[in-house]
Amino acid sequence: MKQVVRVAAGQGFWGDWLEAPRRQVEGGPVDYLMLDYLAEVTMSILQKQKERDPRMGYARDFLGAIESVLPAIVERGVRVIANAGGVNPVACAQAVRELAAAKGAGGKVRIGIVTGDDLLPRIDELVTHGHVLANMDTGEPLETVRDRVLSANAYIGSTPIVEALSRGAQVVVTGRSTDTALTMAPLRHEFGWAADAWDKLAAGIVAGHIIECGAQCSGGNCLIDWRDIPDLANVGYPIVNANPDGTFEISKHPGTGGRISVPSVTEQLVYEMGDPHAYITPDVVADFTTIKLESAGPDRVRVFGIGGRPPTDKLKVSIAYRAGFKAVGTLVYSWPEALDKAQLADRVLRERLDRLGLRFDKVMTEFVGASATHGPLAGLPNGDLPEVQLRFGVRGEDRAAVERFTREIAPLVLNGPPSVTGFAGGRPKVEEIVAYWPALIDKTEVQTAVEVIA
């Protein structure tokens, strides 16, 4: 058994730095490359793509990442685990196989495919059999939006990924695996952690949480001492160096920028945190109030002491549904009295929308440069601002009303308050809103499956 297993994070979300995966496998020795592509509503975007073309529905960026790390996979045995499969892990795996063949590595890359998270085809059957799939935030039954559901995926845990690894997969592609399972699975696989080794499994989850947002634990988006964080242009993404006993250290490759310190890791630990006593995953419930951190040298933090307990008998389900339309328009007003001009434009616009008889569920104005992000907490502006951006948004069920709104921004340039500019972008776009519906389902309803192809 290896005494240290190194899992490197190469992607914190779909849209993260394209350079990161290659830098992680070339910058120093690593055993696994973990790539997280899925956010809450990503599945619905992918579902729409699959409806247009049945070969689509996965994170296409993943192919570029695989191409950039293919030599490391083939020559050095680095293994890749990614939830890039989205709503079509099979097509994703086939695309990886074709890519490998095209690059002269045909048959040399074994690809594990994890399926079973997709509940969309069974949604009516589930509801009929008494699964209410109530919204975890509002308590409403899914029935209220059933005809507008676009995707439904259970968050699945580490077990099928461990199986794929034990069957020799060098690249594992999943659908809606939890972000943290992507890091925990290789530790379970390498160290043979039992399915009821709660403290160790919890440690794997904490390791996953720390690196799942990529550089956000290694100096990116780091508030403390932000001016002094070195060489962000060359930021190093994090690596978990795990031990069989469940302790681990977070590091990054030598010669890279950014910073790994107790405070930078703590900022990531509290990110998107709920009840810290109960970080619930399909594998284990981790207790974040047990985590101990200490510096283990420059850009190295030791993590230990983590406790866990058995998971619940439910899985969380990520459901996406159509929820109306929205559009946001902006104009920029300049000195002098920029804020007053933007405020007058806001009043004029509201009166015009009113006279048109347009009705929306929500109308929102923000004054960017004065109060957009902190609202009344920002207090009154300090002096006469050089410019203020009027940011005006509407939301509603009626697409035509939202569309009509988008035509009311441009006229203000000539028929509203003066010193206005910044309309180069043209008319605002109407966007269909795909909203998120979190629910719970009995674990026994979800059966995962693993296939390995080459």
Binding site: P276, I291, A435
Partner: protein, 117 residues
């Protein structure tokens, strides 16, 4: 003595649906007890009055010298529904750090707290 929270803590925030979370971390471990005493649910709810529509929940993480706040009804529906610039609650962290605390002079001195200018 007036002490700015921004001078004694750092923070990060994120979202879960229509709820923003703010993790507040003491810059020095010995300042955690003061921060935990001052930043009650009620105090934070007052701070965000007119900014959020729901309740505030607080959790303590003494192991990390941190508090975690859940601010419900913070994001205009959250995620893709929200019309806000900060639809994902990324800068509720610094909004909370705008708070100014009243600390007894003797305590501020003994803890070597930076004084608000």
């Amino acid at each position: 003595m007036k002490v700015r929270l921004a001078d004694i803590a750092h923070a990060r925030s994120g979202d879960k649906g229509d709820t923003a979370n703010v993790g507040v971390i003491a810059l020095r471990r010995e300042w955690y007890d003061l921060i935990a005493r001052e930043l009650t649910e009620r105090r934070v709810a007052d701070h965000f009055r007119g900014v959020i529509t729901g309740a505030v929940q607080r959790y303590e993480l003494p192991n990390l010298a941190a508090l975690n706040f859940l601010l419900h009804g913070a994001l205009d529906g959250g995620g893709t529904l929200s019309l806000k610039t900060d639809a994902q609650g990324k800068v509720f962290s610094t909004a909370l750090l705008r708070m100014v605390l009243d600390v007894p002079d003797a305590e501020a001195r003994s803890l070597a707290l930076p004084v608000a200018s």
